[in-house]
């Protein structure tokens, strides 16, 4: 029954295509950011990243051949597995940079919080497609999906990984907004969120998290301390000027003034080397991806598929926006990677799977 030639004919190459383009820019940039540091522990990172890329793309393409109805079936078990994995991290996880986020499978280390994002998208899409689609969503309808999101989110936050936790909540709100969250409800939530944020800031945040927020407001206050990243990042971006300093000409990253330059701050290095022109080009690629996703969401014929695509869009968009926002000093510094650009295996795998899922949905769109 499975006709491979037929499958390829209606295969939607756009998602893997755009993502591969961004990744190629990303890997060159990563090579530039790490290689110019000479001999050091970071030298071979781009090779590792390439390995992860091929692994992620193989898995992603495999996922793209799964029928969307199987995603529907996998939603609840997938959710349960991700919650169990999160619980395991809290009990037996590895520590990295003061947080407990990793779990080891033999030689591989994996961040279950990455998997959680996809599991959340699927489980929410399934839940929302079950309810009557005309119905708008108010507080009563929010109880169950909110609880489903809140449990893993809080587990991620206490790892502690505030960034990813907030990201999961943001994805939830974006999906719910798309699924017709009432304007009245949105207004009330916004008011309470503001009050809540004040309370959490004063009582709930760890010191380094608070510091990140205060230094966001005034980075010059403690230039060598926690404001250091923010300032060095701004210097890196700004010094790129219009055309940039050129490939492998970054001085900020090369001289290690910018820490974590290959992960969260990779966008700063890119800006330094390729300037305003480069970032406009890169942002255009991201925009093309988002636009294509949004187009797909409106052009599928199942509400589950539509919500999943918006969910994937939410994952991509929230990562991109938060990362670029923090690197350019628009937002406080939270550890959120830039999709396909930042070094990191787990999140590359997430984005590969995401591409597979939306490609599968796009391919199924033309089947009647």
């Amino acid at each position: 029954m499975f006709n491979f030639r037929e499958e390829l004919k209606r295969y939607d190459y756009s998602f893997f295509g755009i993502c591969s383009a961004i990744f190629i820019i990303g890997i060159l940039n990563l090579y530039s950011a790490t290689h110019s540091q000479g001999i050091g522990p970071e030298e071979g990172l781009y090779k590792t990243q390439l390995v992860w890329f091929f692994l992620s793309w193989v898995i992603g393409i495999f996922v793209s051949f799964i029928q969307p109805k199987n995603f529907f079936r996998l939603a609840y078990p997938g959710y349960l597995i991700s919650v169990v994995l999160l619980a395991m991290v809290l009990v037996v996880g590895h520590s990295a940079l003061g947080g407990q986020r990793w779990i080891g499978f033999g030689p591989l280390k994996f961040q279950p919080s990455e998997l959680t994002k996809i599991a959340m998208v699927l489980v929410l899409a399934r839940w929302y497609s079950k309810a009557s689609p005309e119905q708008e969503i108010g507080f009563r309808e929010l109880i169950i999906p909110f609880t489903m999101t809140f449990i893993p989110a809080i587990m991620i936050i206490i790892q502690p990984d505030l960034g990813t936790g907030m990201l999961v909540m943001l994805i939830f709100f974006m999906i719910t907004f798309y699924r017709k969250l009432k304007w009245k409800t949105i207004t009330i939530i916004a008011v309470f969120a503001m009050i809540g944020a004040t309370v959490v800031y004063n009582f709930g945040l760890r010191d380094y998290q608070k510091k990140r927020i205060t230094t966001f407001i005034d980075p010059e206050f403690d230039a060598k301390g926690s404001g250091y990243n923010a300032i060095q990042s701004k210097i890196a971006i700004g010094s790129g000027q219009f055309f940039g300093k050129g490939f492998r000409r970054s001085s900020q990253g090369a001289l290690n003034y910018l820490p974590e330059n290959h992960t969260d701050f990779i966008f700063a290095i890119f800006n330094e080397e390729h300037g305003f022109v480069g970032s406009v080009f890169l942002i255009a690629l991201y925009l093309a991806l988002f636009y294509r996703l949004l187009w797909l969401a409106s052009n599928v014929n199942k509400i589950f598929d539509s919500v999943v695509v918006v969910g994937v869009l939410a994952i991509f968009f929230c990562h991109t926006m938060i990362n670029m926002g923090m690197v350019s000093g628009l937002m406080p510094i939270v550890g959120v990677p830039l999709p396909l650009m930042s070094y990191g295996g787990s999140n590359l795998l997430t984005f590969g799977i995401c591409c597979g899922v939306v490609t599968s949905i796009s391919n199924a769109r033309n089947l009647f």
Binding site: S36, Q37, G38, I39, G40, P133, E134, M174, F177, Y178, R179, K180, Q232, K234, I235, A236, I237, G238, S239, G240, Q241, F242, S251, Q252, A254, L255, N256, Y257, N271, E272, G275, F276, S279, V280, I283, Y286, L287, F290, Y291, L294, A297, S298, N299, V300, N301, K302, I303, S306, V310, L313, F317, M321, M324, G325, S328, G329, L330
Partner: protein, 683 residues
């Protein structure tokens, strides 16, 4: 699921809103990037140029330590290591044998060293040979084209003019270990950095914060690999860059006289123990030697871990400053204290006589005199002169230990002197309360008998012993001992001057003092005095010997010849004196561990210190002593002669010029006064 297609369409409105949100977000982001890269681009570009600069620490030269006459005792010497950076090493087959030839070492050992560090990053240099000669430096630098990857690294070594002569007094410096860093920062409220050196022991430790100076920094332009390219000054391309020159450490002038110190060291060499000379009128320490010692320079030239380890493992504990960190039974050198207490309290007077027949019976136990056959009839002067134990046992039978405690405390024993040096110990003078508290048992009368001859619980540091004799010499003034005279800046300005400090002054009756002076003079000069053998040419001193058991012997072994005992069971020999007898200026104490006899072991050391000091500072008085050398004057004659022909006791040597270890003048204050500040050596 018919009609679901339409349901998806009904979400179009929300999809459009999301699209708008995305567009607005990216518009804000692009506006931000425009603001940073184009509006403020130039400014940030300049910032990033500044970031090309590396801030290098410029180490402050550590302050120097001078003797009382400004002879340099400690100085900073540039030394060189030959290093290989494996990253740049090429043509191993030729380079390494060639380097080996230059350094006169086997090529195999260079290869072995490189192998040892194979695991670390290739850009980290490996030290091939430490402390290479200037000739080797010159060859490596001229032949650098044939030696890719080989270079010379300079470091500042802290060196000590007289090596181990003042090891404990001066201390040494060593690198602060990673673990100790936070604790030291907390303790000193000083921001020590990794790789910083810190003074350990002696003056280097005690005055570390003054000597260490303040590191500066120097901006270096670095290339993309972080390697230095050139120094940057404010007038270069980079405006507003300020280098901070280091502030050199302050210098310290000691009260120590190098000649007396060397005399003490050479006289004590080969023995274990301590020798101290102290100024009777001020508490200034003239010499302070502890042996066995170590070469403090070894700690800063990088041999530290092995060297330190071997010092720590050494049974003789060479790291310990025996002068102040160790205490000993004073033995007979303590007897003058017992005599003073008994005379002052009226327990004995000059006419009290005791018959010594070699032992003293009390409570069924016999206390032996060191002289088996006994001394016969003795009074207090003869008892001190011949060190008759039985006479003092008879005092011990009548005196309360608390009275001994009172007098010993007045003379500075059993308490820390307050000398500004690390880890001084207090010694011990017992009293009834102490014993009760310590052991729960009441004081036993028999214990007093042991204490009055300086045995049992009585323990003093060599420094306390010197202070005791100094206080007898000046008749009741207990000075705070000190080793530092001044702290002064590189331009010669005195920043801190240590003035003599009187701890307390107390009254001893004239009669008691006269008896003790006479007795101690006779000990060193008259027929039969225990210290008589030590009397040297041109030395007029009052002294007392002491021989302290380190373990209790059973009665049959007491009179065995000491030299036949195993080394560690041999008695300690002590010698304490003040000089000149008629007009005391200097008090000395010598402890020789397992030296068997005070006179033979300690006497020559004391004599060497006194001779060196008197001949240097009081040559006129020495002339007089030499003239009277053969007249064998009694104590009374000396007192009378001093009254009739007084010699003004003014120190005649007091130079303000600086000399290096070879005696070369390196800085003259006469020049400085004329406005010519001279910092380098004078040619």
């Amino acid at each position: 699921m018919f009609g679901e297609d339409d349901l998806v369409k009904s979400h179009q409105e929300r999809a459009d809103i999301i699209l708008n949100i995305i567009v607005v977000c990216f518009a804000i982001l692009l506006a931000r990037l425009w603001y940073l890269q184009i509006y403020h681009g130039k400014m940030f570009f300049n910032y990033s140029l500044e970031n090309r600069l590396r801030k290098d620490v410029v180490r402050a030269p550590r302050g120097m330590i001078f003797s009382r006459n400004n002879v340099l005792l400690t100085h900073n010497v540039p030394r060189f290591d030959a290093i290989i950076t494996p990253q740049y090493l090429e043509g191993d087959d030729e380079t390494i044998p060639y380097l080996a030839k230059i350094l006169e070492m086997p090529a195999d050992s260079i290869i072995k060293t490189l192998k040892k560090y194979q695991g670390q990053a290739k850009y980290l240099p490996v030290v091939v040979k430490k402390n290479i000669s200037r000739r080797e430096v010159a060859i490596i630098e001229t032949e650098s084209s044939k030696l890719p990857g080989v270079s010379v690294e300079t470091f500042i070594s802290r060196e000590y003019t007289d090596k181990d002569t003042g090891a404990h007094l001066l201390g040494y410096i060593s690198e602060i270990s990673q673990e100790k860093l936070p604790r030291l920062r907390e303790r000193d409220k000083y921001d020590y950095k990794q790789g910083d050196f810190i003074g350990q022991g002696g003056i280097e430790q005690q005055y570390d914060l003054e000597i260490r100076g303040e590191d500066g920094y120097q901006f270096m332009e670095v290339d993309a690999r972080g390697r230095a390219r050139r120094h940057v000054t404010s007038d270069d391309l980079y405006s507003g860059i300020d280098n901070k020159p280091p502030i050199p450490g302050k210098n310290v002038r000691l009260t120590i006289d190098r000649d007396v110190q060397l005399a003490a060291y050479h006289a004590l060499e080969g023995k274990d123990g301590s020798a101290i000379a102290i100024d009777v009128e001020s508490g200034e320490i003239i010499a302070m030697v502890s042996l066995p010692a170590y070469d403090p320079a070894n700690f800063s030239t990088g041999l530290s871990s092995n060297y330190w380890g071997s010092l720590v493992m050494d049974d003789k504990r060479p790291l310990r400053d025996r002068s102040i960190q160790e205490h000993y039974s004073p033995g007979s050198t303590f007897k003058p204290l017992t005599a003073i207490a008994a005379l002052e309290e009226g327990i004995v007077d000059e006419n009290t006589k005791v018959v010594c027949n070699g032992g003293y019976r009390m409570g069924g136990r016999v206390f032996h005199c060191w002289k088996k056959e006994g001394h016969g009839v003795v009074d207090v002067v003869r008892a001190l002169k011949e060190s008759c134990d039985v006479y003092f046992y008879s005092i011990g039978n009548k005196i309360d230990i608390d009275v001994i405690y009172k007098y010993a405390t007045l003379f500075g024993m059993g308490q820390r002197s307050g000398i500004i040096l690390p880890r001084e110990t207090s010694g011990l003078i017992p009293n009834q309360e102490w014993k009760k508290k310590r052991t729960g048992v009441e004081w036993q009368k028999g214990e007093t008998l042991s204490c009055v001859i300086g045995q049992s619980f009585v323990n003093v540091t060599p420094l306390q012993l010197a202070m005791f004799y100094a206080t007898m010499a000046n008749e009741g003034k207990l000075w705070r001992p000190h080793v530092v005279k001044e702290v002064f800046s590189n331009s010669g300005q005195v920043l801190k001057r240590v003035e003599p400090e009187l701890i307390h002054q107390f009254k001893i009756s004239r009669k008691t003092m006269d008896l003790v002076h006479e007795a101690l003079f006779n000990t060193a000069n008259a027929q039969g005095g225990t210290a008589g053998a030590s009397k040297g040419v041109g030395i007029q001193m009052s002294a007392k010997t002491g021989t302290a058991q380190v373990i209790s012997f059973s009665a049959d072994k007491i009179f065995n010849k000491c030299e036949n005992q195993e080394y560690k069971y041999r008695n300690n020999g002590l010698f304490a004196a003040y000089a000149p007898a008629g007009n005391p200026k200097i008090a000395v104490s010598v402890v020789v561990e397992h030296g068997c006899h005070g006179a033979s072991a300690g006497g020559p050391v004391a004599k060497a210190m006194i001779s060196a000091y008197m001949n240097k500072y009081y040559p006129s008085y020495q002339k007089k002593i030499m003239a009277q050398e053969n007249s064998k004057m009694t104590w009374q004659q000396i007192v009378e002669d001093n009254r009739l022909n007084p010699v003004p006791m003014i120190q005649e040597t007091d130079t303000k010029d600086y000399y290096d270890e070879t005696g070369k003048l390196i800085r003259s204050f006469t020049l400085e006064k004329a406005g010519q500040v001279q910092t380098g050596p004078l040619e």
